[in-house]
């Protein structure tokens, strides 16, 4: 698989949110779900099926690493996940792409606005 991030862009919303959740710290699945809901202010809620489907893909691509159980966690069934360096690169590329889109969009919306008298 090519490591060039541009080949993988744009990311699907679920993948983007998962990567974004893991960007700050290592999290287990349930925490990722909650963080995604928080990121989107409750508008986008990941269900476990979608979450683990995406995690499966992200792990296979090498963007996310599976850390396994973390000592001291309440529930021994939980596994933690970490954003890999490759995943971080992809996320940064995606954020840059989105930023360009937002910039362009703002510009156009500004131009398109009716002029003030």
């Amino acid at each position: 698989m090519k490591s060039d991030a541009s080949h993988s862009l744009p990311l699907a919303p679920a993948a983007l949110h998962v990567l974004l959740s893991l960007a700050a710290e290592d999290l287990h699945g349930y925490a990722i779900m909650q963080d995604v809901a928080r990121q989107s202010e409750g508008k986008y809620k990941l269900q476990p099926g979608t979450l683990y489907d995406n995690l499966q893909k992200l792990i296979r691509r090498g963007w996310v690493e599976e850390l396994g159980h973390k000592p001291g966690d309440d529930d021994p069934r939980r596994r933690y996940y970490r954003l890999s360096a490759l995943g971080r690169g992809v996320l940064e590329a995606e954020i840059a792409r989105l930023a360009a889109v937002v910039r362009e969009a703002r510009l156009r919306l500004q131009v398109g606005k009716p002029g003030r008298a």
Binding site: Y30, Q47, P48, D53, E66, R78
Partner: protein, 549 residues
């Protein structure tokens, strides 16, 4: 309960996914307290299950380690044996896809076997057996036009046709009995041919040929135009329309035509009583001034034809305008013409379009003419030999416009274990009656006791109708399809003058069982279905009726 259900769903996931994530998903489920939340998770579990099994086949197995990127010493190695092994999922998909394609292919083959698609390519033929009647322009729809649109062989008088065909280089003529010691029984349609030699093409009545009115080389061009559009009846009449002079005719000429037409009817028409009635009707119409409206030749011919058909209901009886385009001097076909006919038959496999054994060992023979058995006998025998071991046989005559009666007898021979009386041919003008029988049984033939089916349509004409009718009367075949066109007489052209010709059915077929024929009414099938469905229906019947079933 929901927990149990969710656990079950997780267990059903692909092993790798289950091993990796099932515990954690279960932990999430346990963390959700509300019932509605758990129901949502169960729904999500179902979707996940479907997704993982159908769309994530690449995750069913761990990825194979990348092999041979470099040798231990850092020297790139070139592996000659590819370590690639297809994923199990890919194999499963491949098998599924292959099976699907295989099934579809099998289905298509079977479908095409049963539903034969016919793409007609208009073929320029140089033969125009009934050119004189086709040469009549029919600018307006009417009974005559539909008559003119009739297929090329509208009576099984194949051998008689050639002698009417003009002796142009371009014409390909079927051999007449005169060329081959014509007394053989299987050239029964011969009588019309014999009639040629003495019939009404007399110079006294044939005042002058107007062929010169046709631009260019005349007849052959017309025939080309006509025969090239044989299967396209409407354009056919148009193609020659401009070649026929539009001419007004006088009352005297009308009277002359009616008089001679009535005389010809009385002399030649197969049913003397009907001929008399028609003659009287023509006279009455003339007296009442019914003919006054028709001032042009073509209209007048239409009108008189209608008047004759109103009495006789005989679609083959027709007054033809533009007769000048027909030949004046009929002659037996030359050796070259016979050779050309033979060549044409060889090129078209004698009209035997499909010879096939359908599933359940049902034989299927589709042929679109009854060619001269003298030319095509061997091919017919070869076709029947191919089907010799079938359990039942289907003859497809749905697009068969007829031809030679000797082929009718030849093919029917395979269905009987002894010579069988098929028909009588009554020649009115000669007052002769000739019997038509099947030939001696073919050695090694296994079809004599096998169920037989004949597919018919409204386009089944003449000799094809004879074949259907004979087998029906003898209860030897089950007819499936539509009622046939109803051409039970054999017609010949008789010139009236340089522009008019009358085509009179002078020989009638009399079936020994029914003592009548199908003229005007057609042969009614035993099982009446649309022609398009006939094969499917007959095939099912054949499968059921076949011995040993």
């Amino acid at each position: 309960m929901l927990r149990f259900l969710y656990r079950g769903l997780l267990v059903l996931h692909p092993p790798l996914f289950r091993k990796r994530f099932a515990e954690e998903m279960q932990a999430i489920f346990d963390q959700i307290g509300s019932r509605s939340g758990r129901i949502r998770l169960v729904t999500d579990g179902v979707l996940s299950l479907l997704r993982q099994w159908s769309l994530r086949t690449e995750f069913w197995q761990e990825p194979a380690p990348v092999a041979g990127e470099a040798s231990p010493k850092g020297i790139p190695s070139f592996l000659t044996l590819d370590p690639f092994r297809p994923r199990a999922a890919a194999v499963v998909q491949g098998i599924t896809l292959s099976t699907l394609v295989f099934c579809l292919t099998c289905f298509s083959i079977r479908y095409s076997w049963i539903h034969v698609l016919h793409v007609r390519i208009p073929e320029v033929e140089f033969e125009s057996p009934a050119s004189h009647e086709r040469a009549v322009p029919r600018p307006e729809p009417g009974p005559i036009r539909s008559r003119a649109a009739a297929p090329r062989q509208d009576s099984f008088s194949g051998s008689s046709r050639p002698s009417q065909t003009p002796p142009t280089k371009a014409s390909v003529l079927a051999p007449a009995e005169g060329t081959e010691a014509g007394a053989e029984r299987d050239l029964r349609p011969g009588p019309p041919g014999q009639e040629d030699k003495r019939r009404a093409w007399s110079p006294t009545r044939n005042v002058a040929s107007r062929v010169a009115a046709v631009p260019g080389s005349g007849l052959s061009e017309i025939q080309l135009a006509l025969s090239g559009a044989e299967n396209l009846p409407v354009p056919r009449t148009r193609s020659v329309q401009s070649l026929i002079p539009i001419q007004k005719i006088s009352d005297d000429e009308k009277h002359h035509v009616i008089e001679l037409a009535a005389a010809d009817l009385a002399k030649y028409y197969a049913e003397p009583d009907v001929a008399r009635k028609m003659g009287a009707a023509l006279e009455v119409h003339e007296k009442h001034g019914d003919d006054d409206a028709a001032t042009e030749g073509a209209d007048f011919a239409d009108l008189v034809t209608r008047q004759m058909q109103d009495v006789s209901h005989d679609k083959q009886l027709i007054l033809v305008y533009g007769a000048a385009l027909a030949p004046d001097s009929p002659h037996p076909p030359s050796a070259a013409e016979i050779a050309a006919y033979r060549h044409k038959m060889e090129r078209t496999n004698c009209g035997f379009e499909i010879v096939r054994v359908l599933p359940q060992n049902v034989g299927y023979l589709k042929f679109n003419s009854f060619p001269d058995a003298k030319i095509c006998g061997q091919r017919a025998a070869a076709a029947m030999a191919q089907l010799n071991d079938v359990n039942a046989i289907i003859f497809d005559l749905r697009e068969n416009p007829g031809g030679y009666s000797n082929m009718v007898a030849l093919l029917a021979t395979y269905l009987f274990d002894r010579p069988t009386h098929l028909n009588d041919f009554y020649n009115r003008s000669e007052n002769t009656n000739e019997e038509d029988w099947t030939l001696a049984p073919v050695p090694g033939n296994h079809l004599a006791d096998k169920p037989a089916f004949v597919l018919t349509s409204h386009l089944t004409f003449s000799a094809a109708e004879a074949f259907s009718y004979d087998l029906k009367m003898l209860k030897r075949a089950t007819l499936v399809g539509e009622t046939t066109s109803g051409r039970g007489h054999m017609a010949m052209g008789h010139r009236i003058d340089e522009l008019f010709m009358i085509r009179i059915p002078g020989i009638k077929v009399v079936n020994p069982v029914s003592k009548t024929n199908w003229e005007g009414i057609g042969v009614r099938p035993d099982v009446e279905v649309l022609a398009a469905d006939a094969l499917t229906v007959a095939e099912k019947m054949a499968e059921t009726a076949a011995p040993g079933k």
